[in-house]
Amino acid sequence: MSARDNILKRLRERTDGPLTAPDSDFAVVTGRGWSAQERLERFERWISSVHGEVIHTSRGNWTADLAKLLQAKGVRRLALGREHPVAAEARAALAEGEVTLIDADRDVETWQHAQFHDTDAGLTSTRGGIAETGSLWLWPTPDEPRLISLVPPIHIAVLDADTLEDTFFDVIEAHGWAGGMPTNALLISGPSKTADIEQTLAYGVHGPRELIVLVRHPEERV
């Protein structure tokens, strides 16, 4: 018999007999009932607490804030997609500027060295955010592959304020994740960090040193 069959047989022919599965009550991880304002405050408080940076902007004006941000951070080479509206709008706005736009929608093998060595920042959209933990959720696509939120030293993520939800559990349930998972689903909550050297926090150990979230609001905020 194969290892598989042996293991399953031992588990099925359990000495102490079959087990009964208890019911699970998930109330403790859902039903927060926060207002949009509370969600935003929690999101910002938590992601800031782990070194994430939040910039509030508007749907209409966000690319101007992006340009300012790139300048402030000294970003010369920005990797981004093409089709997603976030990428398309950014490309349109940055077309005339000094920042070199690097196409992320191509096989990594063709530009791995440049991705690891010569890319200052990656720009991605997000599918939503989680207020309880200050997390972004991303489902990477051919347009915005997995590594552009990981390899460049700065990750700039665009989040629409109205996509914030209360908890991770709520997100999974509301968006029917169990019905069809992508190749890779990600929660990102801050820049890469480690405390492996005597519990001292250090950022950017393998992934980005900085995570900047451009939170887009429907209207210009006063």
């Binding site: 000495t15 102490d16 208890p22 998972m181 990600l186 890469s192 480690t194 150990v205 393998h206 992934g207």
Partner: protein, 476 residues
């Protein structure tokens, strides 16, 4: 720095040495105090008991349906393009992984943190076959540079302080000697990035394997886990058969418990959910993903209703962070892959009680481990059960059961039992003990190591009370 080999058989000597090492004592004390405080604070606005109850239920439900869920996991992984392999023990798992590497002509493997791979000594196995295995978690990397093993399941290099790490990095990689943690972190980043790009295979562990969707979940802060599972052309995930959960919605409560219990973080930087290799049209990610399911004694633990609880563990390490023994003797003293309370209830099943007979007694049974366990494993009860097994008083279904049973001890307790249930014989023996007190041995094994030997009183308490009463009656 010397390369030391720790074994569970030498627990007492190793613990003694660690207790005499002020550096180890202060490194662990400081770290564990910080972790306990952070955990307490991060749960302060939670209904922790309800959350723990849910966590325990989810794990119990997964175990109750384990064989069905493993088959479901396998079917859904295969449907997603993840190849599933089964291994009876660590040796077989090592062979499967080595053969997968060889089939791709792999010379270099980059590893994300995986305690199961430590458990089966995968690195040594691959290196013997001429395949370099490099750890990429910063703590694991430092420990590997120092030719050691992890001393904590979440923080592998917790036994080392900044100066020691600076020395190790200087000696092994040529960095400057410094106390600048950012400099050392940046240096390790640069060293490992080259290795990520050139690695032929990435090997990772799994925190939760979701049967319903065929998804592998990885929890991490550094991003090395994402690198390991995205950059090399082949990803091999290796995990114990107990890590499966039934539904995707089972994951958020366990994740909430895991990060808060482990390091007092409300969330980790990354939660990485992998449901297949790179699909047509996608531009990065591995071309192949494999999942190796390892038994290694887990199905034996599964047979017994009480021992079963051991398999609920989500490997957060809170039990060791809160253990007064672990905090003082450190992780290496245990001489096993998993140290601390969880190691003491798990390793006897993997290595047998002959090797690990001292581990279940490496506890004061203070109960802290059971109180903080996020899935409510009754660790103190299991420690007592293993003590009983070790002296042959259990059910005998732990390998090496009865190893500590001695004829002398059995006879002594039998005599005691008989005397205690026969009043006149008891009184007679007390009288004799008082009369023969001069003959009491002054050395009584470990008891007299730190204590003076007990000597029976000339007259027993009973006799004294009796004569006291008699004197009182005479006076009245």
């Amino acid at each position: 720095m010397s390369v030391e080999t720790y074994t569970p058989r030498a627990f007492h000597r190793q613990a003694h040495d660690a207790l005499g090492n002020p550096q180890i004592r202060s490194n662990f004390r400081r770290a564990m105090d910080g972790l306990m405080t952070k955990r307490r604070d991060v749960f302060s606005d939670w209904d922790l008991e309800t959350l723990r109850e849910l966590g325990a239920n989810i794990r119990l439900r997964a175990l109750a349906r384990l064989p069905d869920l493993l088959e479901q996991l396998e079917a859904n992984c295969e449907a997603n393009g993840i190849r599933v392999h089964w291994a009876e023990d660590g040796e077989e798992a090592c062979r499967i992984i080595r053969e997968l590497c060889e089939s791709h002509g792999a010379k270099s493997v980059i590893k994300g943190k995986s305690m199961v791979s430590e458990e089966m000594h995968l690195n040594a196995h691959l290196e013997a076959a001429g395949i370099e295995a490099l750890e990429s978690d910063l703590g694991e990397y430092l420990v590997q540079l120092n030719e050691q093993t992890p001393s904590h399941i979440i923080m592998p290099a917790i036994h080392l302080n900044t100066d020691e790490i600076s020395d190790i990095m200087h000696e092994k990689t040529g960095t400057e000697r410094t106390r600048d943690v950012d400099y050392m972190t940046a240096a390790a980043r640069a060293q490992l990035r080259e290795r990520f790009m050139n690695a032929d295979v990435g090997v990772s562990g799994v925190n939760f394997a979701v049967a319903e969707t065929g998804t592998l979940c990885l929890v991490e802060n550094e991003g090395n886990g994402r690198m390991t599972t995205t950059v090399p052309p082949v990803h091999i995930a290796v995990t114990g058969i107990e890590k499966v959960v039934e539904h995707l919605r089972d994951v958020p409560p366990l994740y909430a418990l895991l990060t808060r219990s482990a390091t007092g973080q409300h969330v980790t930087t990354y939660f990485n959910m992998i449901s297949g290799p790179r699909k047509a049209g996608e531009h990065d990610g591995p071309r192949e993903v494999h999942l190796v399911l390892v038994d290694s004694g887990r199905s034996r633990i599964y047979q017994d209703n009480e021992l079963l609880d051991t398999l609920r563990c989500i490997r957060c390490g809170a039990c060791m962070n809160h253990c007064p023994v672990y905090t003082r003797v450190g992780g290496h003293s245990y001489g096993t892959t998993y140290p601390g309370p969880i190691g003491s209830i798990l390793m006897p099943h993997m290595l047998g009680l002959e090797e690990t007979k001292d581990l279940p007694t490496a506890s004061s049974l203070c109960g802290a481990c059971g109180e903080v366990c996020p899935v409510k494993i009754p660790i103190p009860d299991l420690l007592v059960r293993l003590r009983r097994e070790a002296v042959g008083e259990g059910r005998g279904n732990v390998p090496g059961a009865g190893v500590k049973r001695t004829k002398k001890e059995v006879a002594a307790w039998k005599t005691w039992q008989w005397l205690a249930t026969h009043p006149s014989a008891w009184r007679g023996s007390l009288l004799m003990a008082g009369k023969l007190r001069a003959l009491t041995p002054s050395r009584l094994g470990p008891w007299t190591q730190y204590r003076t030997a007990l000597k029976p009183a000339k007259r027993s308490l009973h006799a004294l009370v009796k004569s006291h009463r008699r004197a009182g009656e005479d006076e009245s």
